[in-house]
Amino acid sequence: MKREEAEQYLYCAMSIGEQLLISGAEVGRVEDTIRRICMAYGAERVDVFSITSSIVTTMYGGEFETYTQTRRVGAMANDLHKLDELNRLSRRICAERPEPVEIKSELDKICGGPRYSFGVQLLIYALVSGSFSVFFGGDWKDMAASAVIGVLLKFLEAFIKRSSVNPMITALLCSSAGGLLANLVVLSGLGNHADLISIGNIMLFIPGLAFTNSLRDMFSGDTITGLIRFMESVLLAVVIALGFTFANFLF
């Protein structure tokens, strides 16, 4: 493998790793995937280190000696379909060793893959809020109120996300609005329990994926990443719960 080739292959491997991390993979999987791809193309030794926000890879081999690339990884966007497809692609790369051009076009195809439309997501926000409001003991009035507030919160979230502020602020604003709306609904007599309405909405924002991943990271040996993710998700959960209860304090 020539140096220019090594550059291209490692670039592809890093892109796959980056996309895996963004779509919600454990870092163990990211490191393993990059290592396997580089080994498949003939590197003698590969050292990969990844945390939630960065990936560093150095590979050693006969003709290109040593070669290193790093990536800074930005915001997370949970997408388990993409994760699944990327996993399939990396398996195929290791088995068939396609050209970099082909890998890039496959990767582009996966990144432009299907997502549920905004309309469907609105419905889903209503479904999730309504279901969990009932799940924790709300009646049908609470369910309806929670579903409507869920839809409003989706609009608010999309609006705030357009100005790309940090996720903590987004969560705080959305949850305060949710708490306020729940109290207003109860005051106007359209709902019965403000707490059960809010509990339905709270489930939308609780970082369940980050929390379970943090556990999986910690116990597969990636303690640093596990701790970062754990702290992030606990902090986020507390901020969200505080936001929702803040309105109760006013009324």
């Binding site: 919600g24 993979a25 454990e26 999987r29 949970n78 997408d79 388990l80 379909h81 993409k82 994760l83 699944d84 996993n87 399939r88 299907p114 997502r115 549920y116 469907v120 997501q121 889903i124 926000y125 479904l127 999730v128 279901s131 969990f132 009932v134 799940f135 924790f136 707490d195 809010s198 509990i199 709270i202 489930m203 609780i206 369940g208 994926l209 929390f211 379970t212 991943n213 556990l215 999986r216 116990f219 959960a237 507390v238 719960a241 505080l242 929702f244 209860t245 803040f246 109760n248 304090f249």
Partner: protein, 149 residues
């Protein structure tokens, strides 16, 4: 009994919604939300035999991790896909809300008991998930090495 049935339906629908938010597609969507139905079902069954909610959470998360690991092998996809959405009904969202609510009202006793419940329940869930993951992987590796020999 009626209340349990309503809870099961709500758990199924809520997790189906979550699976959609995580962009899970096709038949995996059904299996992910069935996992949630199963995990809450097991929680309710265990709750019949014991009053200890933490134990129920532990048993339910052991079973759901087992389900997720097996499903992931069948569908050849990362375990996260099935694990995350199936774990959703067990997340102590209500207790978290109540503990913060008590904090806001300066009800320190309520805050202490609710936040302790939240933390301990999350801990017993994580214990169940990690315990099963580790044991399952050990058994899987062992079975794999046996087959090769």
């Amino acid at each position: 009994m009626m209340q349990e049935a309503v809870q099961l339906i709500a758990a199924f629908l809520g997790s189906l919604g979550f699976a959609v938010l995580f962009n899970i597609r096709g038949e995996k969507l059904a299996f992910a939300s069935l996992g949630a139905l199963m995990s809450w079902g097991i929680y309710l069954i265990t709750a019949h035999f014991t009053d200890n909610a933490y134990l129920c959470g532990f048993v339910a998360s052991v079973m759901l991790t087992l389900y997720a690991e097996i499903m992931a092998r069948i569908h050849k996809t990362p375990v996260t896909v099935f694990l995350v959405s199936a774990a959703i009904p067990l997340i102590p969202g209500a207790a978290l809300y109540r503990s913060m609510n008590c904090l806001m009202q300066r009800n320190w006793d309520g805050f202490a008991s609710n936040s302790a419940y939240t933390l301990l329940f999350a801990a017993s869930m994580s214990a169940g998930i990690t315990f099963t993951t580790i044991v399952f992987r050990m058994i899987w590796k062992w079975a794999y090495s046996q087959r090769r020999m």
